[in-house]
Amino acid sequence: MPQLRALEGNLAVAEGARLSRIQVCAAYPITPQTPIVEYISEYVRQGMLNAKYIAVESEHSAISAVIGASLVGARAFTATAGAGLALMHEVTIVAAGNRLPIVMAIANRAMPSPWSLQVDHSDSMGERDQGWVQLYAENAQEALDFTILGYRIGEDDRVRLPIMPCIDGFYVSHTTEVVNVPDQEQVDAFLPPYKPKHVYLDVNDPISVNNLTSPDVYTEIRQEHFRALQNALSVIDDLGTKFGDCFGRYYGVVEGVALDDAETIFVTMGSITGTVRQAIRDMRAKGEHVGLLKVTAFRPFPKAKVRQILASAKRVLVIDRSAGLGSEGPLALEVKGALYGLYPAPIVYGFIGGLGGRDFSLVTIARAYKKAMEMSAKGEINPRAIWIDSKEGEL
């Protein structure tokens, strides 16, 4: 029987990994991810999980070791955050380029410098073009569900890619919530054992993998990779629905809230979404026509869906939890790109906030809304990001 338990986000991920019957976990400790792999190593010790835990000497070796394990047919898992993810950067695309369905949980942590222990998305945004599927979880329940769903999506023949469930450091990773934990039989029915298909190291069928290529084939191999990510858009929706049929919780590339008559739509990712849910409830009670579009899959980015949903809005408020240094927030850029060529098109206001763990509160949301409404009334468009919670003003 599924159980309702009080779990922090990190434990929810570890439970997701346990229920997915991972066989190898290689990891290096880094805040705020560390509890995930502490729980997993304890599961291994207690025999609750028939897996091997490799306590590697760096994140670079962590991702390398799980790639090695995946290449010989093991279901492999790792987790990291912040600078640890950046250290893996060279190798993350090896996992994706070889189409290995590894799941790597990210407890999002702001990139140095300056150092921060706390959340923003600058770490996972640095990996956004490395060819992984990125799913941003709003809460501990999604942290658990996206881990299980991640393997199912990643191992699907139409996809065969690694998956990065991203959970906001501390706000999700260390916050205890009620989580519905599925039972093993349910998960086994949803997620069959992993079988490599195209890329493997097998002494009974020797092939040379990942070798040097020429300009004659590199483009087409990249294009295949691109196509797999495109396929993932519908596969996430398809399997998110199947997941719902099994477990009662339905997922897709995006989730819309109160969109029917919404003139103003917030676009969010991660834990800020929960606060915006509350904000739009409050605003709707006062008669404001506001809605919410939560982007779950940032990679692949669901352009067509975002365009379709936002097309009828007057204004769109995008909240980015990473600075987009030198340009705008990456989510705002994607949203603007999705709306390109639409006429008439909603005006997009990009807000940057919540960096380095700063609380993105109801007050901040109200300020962003007010700002957007004022600009909109004056017919102003704003080509640049608005730093909405900076003590030094909005830039």
């Binding site: 070791a65 020797p206 040379s208 990942n210 070798n211």
Partner: protein, 291 residues
């Protein structure tokens, strides 16, 4: 000892003429046989792993990154264990740069954790595949494209570092003593843990000697005492090729263009150092490495 074993590396590789890495690779595969998974970093050995649709290996091979050969080996071995795939050799086959410089951390970590894998460093004493740049294994005085006046620093003692970590089996080898290498690789494959073989592989392209002299160079390195052959199993030293009378160092150096800039006093100092070291080395036979 295994000359009749089937070849597990195709003919027609695009290695340089007179390549001794290839000699080591072929010998390694003759001993290890088909139940072997090979990992090569971007390096001369990647030539065997192949280009486009072609590969030299007749066993599964993985082209790794430069610094994580041992980490991939750790993951592959662990994956084999959890999926019940037994009696398979997992071999990292990396050059000196990928081992003693950029790959050192992953190698040290994997050795410390005790995974069962064989790591072979073919040491051509520079980044030869990128075009002869200095590595931590380049000897003092050697010209490379990044040490145009000769390297000022000595060669990193990687085998000493790994033995200090307590690796259960480590050995030196030479492309000029293939039987010795084959015995060592056979031994390494039986070790229930990490094993390391460091093979000196003279490089005609980078050392500036005629391609016909590869074996001569390999043998001279051993016979002059520059590259002593030994193994250490469970911390006990065994000298596998004792040179009764060392040949003069200059015989080894004079054939190589890369040492052309060495002064006579530098050569003499090196020669003296070899004499002292070799006497101490002979004394190690049968004793503890860490004594």
């Amino acid at each position: 000892m295994t000359r009749s074993a089937p070849q597990l590396i195709h003919h027609g590789l695009t290695t340089c003429e007179g390549c001794s890495m290839e000699i080591i690779a072929r010998a390694m595969m003759r001993v290890l046989g088909p139940r072997t998974i090979v990992i090569t970093p971007p390096s001369c050995s990647a030539i065997i792993t192949g280009y486009g649709r072609e590969t030299g290996w007749m066993v599964p091979a993985w082209q790794s990154n430069l610094e994580n050969v041992a980490a991939y080996a750790a993951g592959i071995r662990t994956g084999l264990e959890v999926t019940g795939q037994e009696e398979i050799n997992v071999v990292g086959f990396a050059g000196d740069g990928g081992t003693v410089d950029i790959g050192l951390q992953a190698l040290s970590g994997a050795v410390e954790r005790g995974h069962r894998f064989i790591y072979i460093c073919y040491d051509n004493e520079a980044y030869m595949n990128t075009g002869i740049q200095r590595s931590g294994a380049t000897p003092k005085g050697a010209w490379t494209t990044t040490t145009p006046e000769g390297k000022r620093e000595g060669k990193k003692n990687i085998i000493g570092m790994l033995l200090a970590q307590g690796i259960p089996y480590a050995a030196t080898a030479s492309a000029g003593f293939v039987d010795d290498f084959e015995r060592k690789i056979a031994k390494a494959s039986k070790i229930d843990g990490p094993s390391y073989i460091h093979a000196l592989t003279p490089c005609s392209t980078g050392w500036r000697f005629p391609a016909s002299q590869t074996i001569t160079m390999s043998r001279l390195a051993v016979e002059t005492g520059v590259w002593p052959l030994f193994e250490v199993k469970d911390n006990i030293v065994h000298i596998t090729h004792k040179v009764k009378e060392l040949k003069p160092l200059v015989e080894y150096l004079k054939l190589q263009g890369r040492f052309r800039g060495l002064h006579e006093d530098e050569i003499n100092a090196w020669q003296e150092q070899i004499k002292v070291n070799y006497t101490a080395f002979l004394d190690k036979e049968g004793k503890s490495w860490l004594c």
